[in-house]
């Protein structure tokens, strides 16, 4: 019996099966690095400016009545936290230490930040989602691919994202609100004052009873407006190829100017639309519905327009 025959040899098939398992085990051990737990609190002015920057994960900001801030949550130990507090200024910044091919596997930071209600808040993230609630000061939220959700009574709201969805609920009366996305969905409700919302390919849905001016635009996404028209209000809805739905409260006092250059107009609150030309496509509808002096301008190139009565389903 030769020495070779006595040696223990692993069959090649077993090697092929074991090597991925070993690889996954290595990755698993790398992922099993415990998360760093955050628990910080310091005094902060009640009208402080707050800037929060995160990459991946989540940022949740809540307003409270105390003149201080509290930061809790978890973060990847390979990331770095930079904190700066100076009376009226608070900066929380998560810095990534290991960019590169494996950067997408790094777990993000999940931050819960409590700040004074009247703070001026700015949040910027890359893929982290943003949630803010119970705030009164000006709010500016910006994300690349993370979603943005805000419940506040702020008088100045700016929310922008590239592919993340934006959901705004509530505002001061009145307020100025701006919401822009490229391909995300925009949902806005219970706001008052002036609103500008625009998207390229995402949809825009607005439900409100106290908007004085609304300017809603998309390129290919649909637009839906549901709510009450304020006397003297101005409402402009425009899309290139998206469908537009407009469902005002019963007896809207407004001048309606509705044009669809290639699409149809479905009208349930006024006279029937008539064709733009004798032989070409498109429809036009101009009519006045009661007193009030509001003005509604809706136009689309190739989308359809639906004027509907507001129902509970809306």
């Amino acid at each position: 019996m030769t020495l070779k025959s006595q040696q223990f040899r692993i069959p090649p098939i077993l090697c092929a099966l074991l090597s991925p398992a070993v690889l996954f085990a290595c990755i698993g051990s790398a992922r099993a690095v415990p998360l760093r737990t955050l628990n910080l609190s310091r005094p902060l002015a009640s009208h402080a400016r707050v800037l929060i920057v995160n990459i991946a994960g989540q940022v949740t900001v809540t307003g409270w009545k105390h003149p201080a801030f509290r930061l809790t949550g978890t973060m990847d130990p390979r990331d770095r936290l930079r904190l700066r507090v100076r009376g009226h200024l608070l900066i929380i910044r998560i810095m990534r230490r290991h960019p590169g091919p494996g950067a997408e596997r790094i777990r993000g930071a999940h931050l819960q930040v409590d700040i004074p209600v009247a703070s001026r808040l700015t949040v910027r993230t890359v893929s982290a989602s943003v949630m803010a609630q119970n705030l009164r000061g000006p709010i500016r939220l910006k994300s690349v691919s993370g979603s943005i959700k805000l419940e506040s009574s702020s008088h100045r709201i700016v929310a922008k994202s590239v592919s993340g969805n934006i959901a705004l609920d509530g505002s001061a009366r009145p307020a100025r609100i701006v919401a822009h996305t490229v391909s995300g969905r925009i949902t806005i409700e219970n706001v008052a004052g002036r609103l500008r919302a625009a998207s390229v390919s995402g949809s825009v849905w607005v439900g409100s009873k106290a908007l004085r001016r609304a300017r809603l635009r998309t390129v290919s996404g649909p637009i839906q407006f549901v709510g009450r028209l304020v006397p003297g209000g101005r409402y402009g809805l425009g899309s290139v190829s998206g469908n537009i739905g407009f469902a005002p409260a019963p007896r809207p006092g407004a001048l309606f100017q509705v044009v669809s250059l290639s699409g149809d107009i479905g009208d349930a609150i006024g006279p029937p639309a008539h064709p733009r030309s004798r032989f070409g496509p498109g429809e036009v509808l101009h009519f006045v519905s009661g007193p009030g002096g509001a003005r509604v301008r809706i136009r689309t190139l190739s989308g359809n327009i639906g004027l509907e009565k507001m129902t509970k389903g809306h």
Binding site: S145, V162, S163, V200, S201, V219, V240, L261, L301
Partner: protein, 160 residues
């Protein structure tokens, strides 16, 4: 035979003047003719160049997807499109999240298609204010889109 004295005719011939000055200066007319021929040649050459350039331009315009008659909504901008080049470069950028990288070119195509649709419509109906308004809107959206993309790229790089 040649030693004979010249005849009366030959004497008369020898008395005739050997040169005769022209009654008028002919050179200006000759110069004008030459100049005129040169100019004609230049005009013909310029015309040929223009006609060739026109044929080439027409051929490219005719075969480009933007003017395919009855075709589907046009995808594509003029050959040198800085916006498309910029977005393509950003879409390859590993610093941006993957869903963003995937959706950027599609969104730019949406804007391009919208613009082509509006321009076609505007060509048929130049006086329609609604169409002009939509064109302004799409141009604004395009500018905002590019600004957003640039902003996202800058931020995602700064934060890493």
């Amino acid at each position: 035979m040649n030693d004979q004295p010249p005849s009366i005719l030959e004497k008369a011939l020898s008395t005739l003047p050997r040169e005769r000055a022209p009654e008028a200066d002919l050179w200006p007319g000759i110069a004008r003719t030459i100049r005129c021929r040169r100019r004609t040649r230049q005009v013909v050459a310029s015309g040929a160049i223009l006609v060739t350039a026109g044929i080439v331009a027409f051929s490219f315009g005719f075969f480009s997807p933007a003017t395919v008659p009855g075709g589907a909504p046009v995808v594509g901008r003029p050959p040198i499109d800085l916006a498309a080049a910029f977005v393509t470069r950003v879409a390859r950028d590993a610093a941006l999240p993957r869903p963003v990288r995937a959706s950027l070119p599609a969104d730019l195509r949406t804007l391009d298609q919208a613009q082509v649709l509006i321009e076609r419509r505007l060509a048929r109906d130049p006086g329609a204010p609604a169409v002009r308004g939509l064109l302004v809107q799409v141009e604004t959206d395009r500018a905002r889109f590019l600004a957003t993309v640039e902003d996202a790229q800058l931020h995602s790089r700064n934060w890493q």
